[in-house]
């Protein structure tokens, strides 16, 4: 039985204490329990605080207080078994639903049964002699959060309106406290989520205020900015962190702090994402980053409070892109010419400064020596220094380290950080060391120029003054570059060799030089059809033949390529030997014919024209003997340009037995020109559009006005034009003019 105390005092006391309790803690459960406890026994025998879930869902009891602990427990248990139905008739539910307080001053069994949540609940209330109840809604920010109920049991003073007012007052404050607690919980939750996200993000994120202080940074940011922890970043003086780096834009120009997007946000700008190249000053390590900044603004004033900076590390992708475009460019340079010392110099220039400060290429020459074929450096003074170094201290194939070692092993070497002691040990004398130190290489890569069968040389890359250092990624690119260059060098060598083969074979087929015959001008021209590499089947010669007599030879072996070249060599040498032995033209052709016939493999056909020339004296005509074997007849062009064919057609050599050739005598007068040619000339052009004999005769008309060399050049031009630049067969021209 409670004593009725002066209500106002109780009320004030209660409210003050409740205020104290609620201010002391934001822990919802504790607070509510304490508030409920306060009302007992002053105001009530039993007090419950019920809250409803968000979205008007279930009703949950958060506090029960009673002087009788057992009763409190039982009520808790009851509520757990029979939670209040939010849409039901229970007065608490109706208070929550309506948001209005309710006073049930005197309750009877009938009333209680009417809103009980089942018979057990009814029995509970009746047994415990529920008598009077005042319920106040917990309202905050316009929302009903629950209800506070005070209950008197048994014989007691029923609640009156003032009690209800007090309950409402208490409830109002409790509602505020609950709301605070919820707000606090929400903030905590948002913060927790943000933290969880930021920790797991690979991207580095910082939050910067208008003064440039970092108010927040995640772990990735700490790592990117070379700090031991996010806290270190946040403690640092504004701008001091960025001093650790050299920040460049993608063109290599240095960026100032206020050009960074975050800073620009505070100036009211809306900057685009910025691609930067960030170099750690201490180690030379280089990263490529995309910096994106967005503002956190104050909703009321629109002022930018913070800048959120997101740093995306695209170093790998960027490196790969750069590497690809570099390789493509290098490939282009290497493919541009067969002169590999040129192209390698081009590649060295390309590599600097894109991938290194200095680049040199060494190649093993045919004597087994290591020869430098290319050198380039950002600083021209270094190039000169490198040259001095190379001249004075050429690496020898047997050296234990450096380029020779890489060439021997075929494996690349990366010296990420050159050790001064190792350098000193490598130097052979003081001057050598001085030169090496002058170059100042801090980081070196040596990669082998690899061809399928062997290592042809090496590419050396150095970082010296730029502050860069090489890493394994750089090594990968250097190896690819060197391999590509190796292939190019090998191709060039093969190409050159093929050319040389052709050249030498060609030289075997053609006379090294034409002898000087007194009183007679001689010129020759040879134009190979198709690719330079294909050795031709035409040959010509001018030989001394007895006293004051010369032999002019022109011939054409059927076919092209090495086999034809072999037969051509046979033809030429056989004719020369026969001439030396003093055979007659008929005899020589016979000898050649027999030699061809005695070749077992297939039929080797050959045509030839032999012209002997005996010179009498100045102003005198020269006597000619013309013998043809299946070859176009030579032309005698007189001083007016009139051309006449000379000689009698004879049998092709090497096929039909016996051959039928005849020597025909004729003369060459002073001023006249004798032209021997192979059928590549009249055959020039497409089959329906050949140069033909007539054209040829027309060409000859111009002859007297031109000097011999010019005449042959004209003829060649005509033929090429006729053939539209693509001859099907070689052309050999031999011209003699009597002065």
């Amino acid at each position: 039985m409670t004593e009725k105390a002066p209500p106002r005092d109780i009320a004030v006391e209660l409210l003050v204490e409740a205020g104290a309790v609620m201010a002391s803690s934001l822990d919802l459960a504790t607070t509510m329990q304490q508030v409920a406890q306060l009302t007992v026994p002053r105001l009530a025998d039993l007090c419950t605080i019920d809250l409803c879930d968000d979205a008007g869902g279930a009703i949950r009891e958060v506090a029960v207080a009673s002087a009788d602990v057992g009763l409190a427990h039982d009520l808790e248990a009851m509520r757990r078994r029979h939670p209040l139905d939010p849409d039901g008739e229970h007065p608490v539910a109706r208070v929550i639903a309506s948001g209005e307080p309710m006073l049930l001053a005197e309750m009877n069994d009938v009333l209680m049964r009417s809103f009980a949540q089942g018979s057990e609940h009814a029995r509970f209330m009746i047994e415990h002699r529920y008598r009077s109840v005042a319920m106040a809604p917990l309202v905050a920010r316009g929302r009903t959060l629950g209800a506070l109920s005070v209950l008197r049991l048994g014989d007691c003073e029923p609640y009156c309106g003032e009690d209800l007012d007090l309950a409402c007052e208490l409830a109002r404050r409790a509602a505020l406290a609950i709301d605070n607690a919820r707000l606090y919980s929400e903030v905590r939750q948002v913060e927790q989520r943000l933290a969880a996200i930021l920790v797991n993000l690979a991207e580095a994120i910082t939050l910067m205020d208008a003064q440039g202080r970092m108010v927040f940074a995640n772990q990735a940011a700490a790592e990117l900015l070379q700090a031991s922890s996010p806290e270190e970043l946040m403690r640092a003086r504004p701008g001091s962190i960025m001093e650790r780096f050299l920040v460049l834009d993608e063109h290599g120009r240095e960026l100032a702090l206020d050009q960074m997007p975050g800073r620009r946000l505070f100036k009211g700008e809306r900057p685009q994402p910025l691609l930067v190249r960030n170099i750690v000053r201490a180690t030379g390590e280089e990263r490529w980053l995309i910096v994106r900044s967005s503002p956190v603004t104050d909703p009321e004033s629109g002022r930018v409070l913070f800048a959120v900076n997101v740093f995306e590390n695209i170093t790998e992708v960027k490196r790969a892109q750069l590497a690809e475009s570099f390789m493509a460019e290098a490939s282009r340079v290497l493919a541009s010419s067969m002169d590999y010392s040129d192209t390698l110099q081009g590649v060295a220039r390309l590599a600097v400064p894109q991938i290194a400060d200095g680049c040199a290429v060494d190649v093993v020459n045919e004597h087994g020596e290591i020869e430098r074929v290319a050198i380039y450096h950002r600083d021209p003074a270094m190039v000169a220094l490198a040259r001095r170094l190379d001249r004075g201290y050429r690496p020898a194939p047997g050296d234990p380290a450096g380029v020779p070692e890489v060439i021997r092993s075929g494996r690349p070497r990366l010296y990420a950080e050159v050790d001064p002691d190792a350098l000193a040990a490598y130097a052979t004398d003081n001057e050598h060391l001085e030169l090496l130190q002058g170059i100042g290489a801090r980081s070196v890569i040596i990669a082998p120029l690899a061809a399928p069968a062997r290592t042809l040389g090496a590419v050396t890359l150095i970082c010296s003054d730029s502050g860069r250092r090489f890493s394994h990624a750089d090594l990968g690119l250097a190896v690819r570059l060197a391999r590509r260059a190796g292939t190019a060098v090998e191709s060039a060598r093969l190409y050159t060799e093929r050319n040389r083969i052709a050249h030498v074979l060609g030289a075997a087929l053609l006379p090294e030089s034409l002898p000087a015959v007194p009183g007679v001008q001689i010129e020759a021209l040879y134009r190979a059809a198709g690719e330079l590499n294909d050795v031709g089947g035409d040959f010509y010669d001018v030989l001394p033949y007895g006293v004051d007599r010369w032999l002019l030879v022109i011939g054409d072996v059927c076919g092209k390529g090495p086999r034809a070249a072999g037969v051509t060599a046979l033809a030429r040498h056989t004719l020369r030997a026969a001439a030396m032995l003093g055979q007659t033209p008929t005899g020589m052709l016979g000898t050649l014919h027999r030699a061809l016939r005695s070749q077992p493999m297939g039929a080797d056909l050959c045509t030839a024209s032999l012209v002997t020339l005996r010179h009498a004296g100045t102003g005198q005509p020269a006597q000619l003997t013309v013998t043809l074997a299946g070859h176009p007849p030579p032309l005698v062009i007189d001083e007016s340009g009139q051309a006449t064919q000379v000689g009698r057609p004879g049998t092709l050599l090497g096929v039909i037995d016996p051959i039928d050739v005849a020597e025909v005598e004729t003369q060459l007068r002073p001023g006249e020109t004798l032209l021997l040619y192979t059928d590549g000339l009249p055959e020039a052009g497409r089959s329906d559009h050949r140069l033909g004999e007539q054209e040829l005769l027309a060409l000859c008309a111009e002859a007297p006005g031109l000097d011999l060399a010019a005449m042959l050049a004209r003829i060649e031009q005509m033929a090429l034009r006729q053939a539209q630049g693509m001859l099907r067969d070689d052309i050999a021209l031999l011209a003699v003019r009597l002065c």
Partner: protein, 108 residues
Amino acid sequence: MGVEDQLGITVRREADRVVIDLDGELDMASAPFLQSALDGAEIEPETMVVLDLQSLQFIDSTGLRAILSLRDQCRERAQQFAVTRGSPQVQRLLDITGVSEHLQTPTA
């Protein structure tokens, strides 16, 4: 062993001649060095050039050709050219090919 180790070339200047001393093997790989040695020696015309083969252990046809080429070059420069006898295996080739017979031997 590098190519340079196969053939040792020493150029000595004596009163009336320049002696090129060969030691080791004169073959396809080392023959080019003989040519460079002659080029590098800068011998004045009218001087006798003597090729000392006494320490030469081996010679093949390329080496032989190199010697003959040296002879031709000396001839062009109006220099006398002489070749000493070589070690037994070298001398064999020099005899077979008639080099010993047809090339001058230096007077003492």
